[in-house]
Point group: C2
Chain length 489, copies 2
Amino acid sequence: MLSSIEDSPLHLIANPKSMAFFGASNNIVSMGTNQLLSLLSLGYEGRVYPVHPKEEKVQGLKAYRSVLDLPEVPDVAMMVLPTQVVNPTLEECGRKGIKRAIIVSGGFKEVGGDGAALEQEMVRIAARYGLRILGPNGLGVANPYRKLNTTFIPHEGQPGFIGLASQSGSFVTQMFNYLANLGLGFSTALSVGNEANIDLVDALEYLGACPHTKVIAMYIEGLKRGRAFLEVARKVTRRKPVVVLYIGGSEAGRRAGLSHTGSLAGPDDLYGGVFRQSGVIRAESVTELFDFCWALGALPAPRGNRVIIQTHSGGPGAAAADACGRAGLQLPALADETRSRLAPYLPHTGSCQNPVDLTFTKNPGDFYSRIPKVLLADPGADMLLVYFFTPEPVLRRGLSQMGVPPEKLDEEATKVLDLSCRAVLKTIKEQDKPVIGYTWRSLEESFSRKLTEGGVPLYPEAERAARAMSALVRYHAYRVKMAESKIQV
Amino acid sequence: MLSSIEDSPLHLIANPKSMAFFGASNNIVSMGTNQLLSLLSLGYEGRVYPVHPKEEKVQGLKAYRSVLDLPEVPDVAMMVLPTQVVNPTLEECGRKGIKRAIIVSGGFKEVGGDGAALEQEMVRIAARYGLRILGPNGLGVANPYRKLNTTFIPHEGQPGFIGLASQSGSFVTQMFNYLANLGLGFSTALSVGNEANIDLVDALEYLGACPHTKVIAMYIEGLKRGRAFLEVARKVTRRKPVVVLYIGGSEAGRRAGLSHTGSLAGPDDLYGGVFRQSGVIRAESVTELFDFCWALGALPAPRGNRVIIQTHSGGPGAAAADACGRAGLQLPALADETRSRLAPYLPHTGSCQNPVDLTFTKNPGDFYSRIPKVLLADPGADMLLVYFFTPEPVLRRGLSQMGVPPEKLDEEATKVLDLSCRAVLKTIKEQDKPVIGYTWRSLEESFSRKLTEGGVPLYPEAERAARAMSALVRYHAYRVKMAESKIQV
């Protein structure tokens, strides 16, 4: 275990005050240029020293002929260079006294043969100078809290609570937009690439200690240090959840991973055992990886696996019940007191079974405030799953019929939706049980966005919501078991 | 088998020239009013006769005191009435000579007891007058080709190729927006409700004969006529694919279905057997139901299960390979000729394994036209799965660096994206293998929309794409087997 986060080789890489930048130029189609532009456009506040053999200025910054000419020893050397140039440059960085490098260049272990030999040489150079390397064949790091993004694509959205350690740089840089659309974001995301001398276990340890990280996501093609992973994961999962996607277990995934980062994958069962023994939650797809992180990072601990479903539509209710059942969740009957407290809000077509199906209401306040309040107070309910299907076209039609003129419709519809949303968020905050939503409306619509920005995990189908709740239950059950067993790890 | 589509009791219901409308008023919060407004706002071209005890006009239409006063015998009686009023009204409709009814009202079999008795009476009245009923406890029908939408929510998007038969009205009306966002739409969608005397089998038979329907989706809580379903499905699946979501197989789903439409579900295995024997493809969620319909309705028949994956990012490629493997698809090695034809387009960091990983390119034309053309010509490829991740922010940054002024960025970015999109659509159309996409960008972004509107099924993750391809393979394998076996059904 790290005694301080600053002991991690990744601390300086994720929080550099200065960087030497190799491979950026004024050529706009080069990868390095684009990575420098991502860094600058997010407003990185550290010092950046482009190193370029010819240019006087690179993207408006003074450029240097050699790293040896820099006015200080930068915290990190960032390299987006042709394969053959990497090792000689790394050697110079070592001589300059630089202790950390992010190497984006590919053509090493992942291509085998000469590439693998070049990577061995890289590791030897690094050892000689005490250099720690993120990469090669990775995209570096995004730490939006430091306005740091070394990846190809401009950062979008706000800093968030998901720490990511990934053997794919794409799952750092290509997720910015995806997460931002859900009101989520990375705390720090690390692309470990070929893991020359910083690996997934180091990344896990760092994110375990990172104060902005509430939940850790990992994309794994193969672990180099299985035993170390088990030990570190056991410690981390006592304090925060870890979710992994392991794709090396299938033959197709194993082969693709080998050609991608040169990872040697192991049997699916073996990895599954390691994950289970260390309290790590396993996801089956990238979508699920972030689905689980959403629930685990945003929600309080449930006391058990009993879910009440609240809906105004029978089919979505029944499909959610089915999904919850398949995900191993219980649907308890409502307590008698709950049923009598619900009665005033339910029309005769409604159902106070579980799912609670309102069928319809003339008063949105019932659905968004009074009913969830009653359901959350039920002693048999550990969690509440709500169908948040609020179609704006119907609302606008209603307002129009009430005499709201067309030019005022946007404003009035927004008001009504805001009211409903505030009501439900207030109800949720006044108690301590997890509330999760699902909907068929777009998550990019204004009502959905308000909910997610208010901290409610909202999934575009019941199945994903149910599986995320199940992950939440399993993680907290593990934590309780560990706390009770008082096993020292 | 229907000798003509007009023999189906649903033909008149889905294509009425005139309707009596019970339960709409000038009260804007009533369900019936909203359903009438949905009908009118889509521009229904038939004649609509509101029947109302007091009003002279309903939503601008002349209202009648009684159905007996109507100037003609309308094709359909649409009822959104209090439970107790339904049967007497139906009796009057019978006397008027009306032969079809859509009954939205609930409070019948699904609530048990008196409700069940009322439904039995309804069936007796219907039998007396030769009346066929869609419902009760359903939302009716959407046939956008006829500008017909009797449901609660205004129709969105274009008429499409998905026929839906559903025991939930929500999965008709609440899917308009969802499908429209994917560039999809219903041909005809039927909410069968409690199936008084028109059931899912009738709906399947009708959609099997419907010329606009290329693929049939079914949401099933329980089948009333298992044997009839098997017989009809066997005939229909010889001509078009049928995808079902059956939720009655889990205990939670069974109970929810019972309280929703009073359906009696059967064991999951039994239903699974019925589906398999009849060539019906089973989906595991509502999302998957429409995912499968998308691939099955939009794509040509693949010759086998061998997929080539084309990507520019290792992680998404490896995750897709893993997903394809898990979905039972094969990832063949590329033919030697394909590899040599690819060589000019691949940088040294790229991979011409399968996944084909470009890593990067300076020429988008390679990715969107030349490379897919080469891959589709590979004799070992039955399908192509392409990672369509085209981040606009990177494109805009590039254009800006090339000197495009800010006010021209939108226009220029659109031009570039249009070009790429047209190139890939042209490549796809010039051959006859299925091409499927996946992406982490929003499907609501302009590039995604252009692709989907061009007919390319595009999924927001590789797993869903892989499962949809697997469904496509399984359906066409079944059809080939049936054609070869020459079994008469």
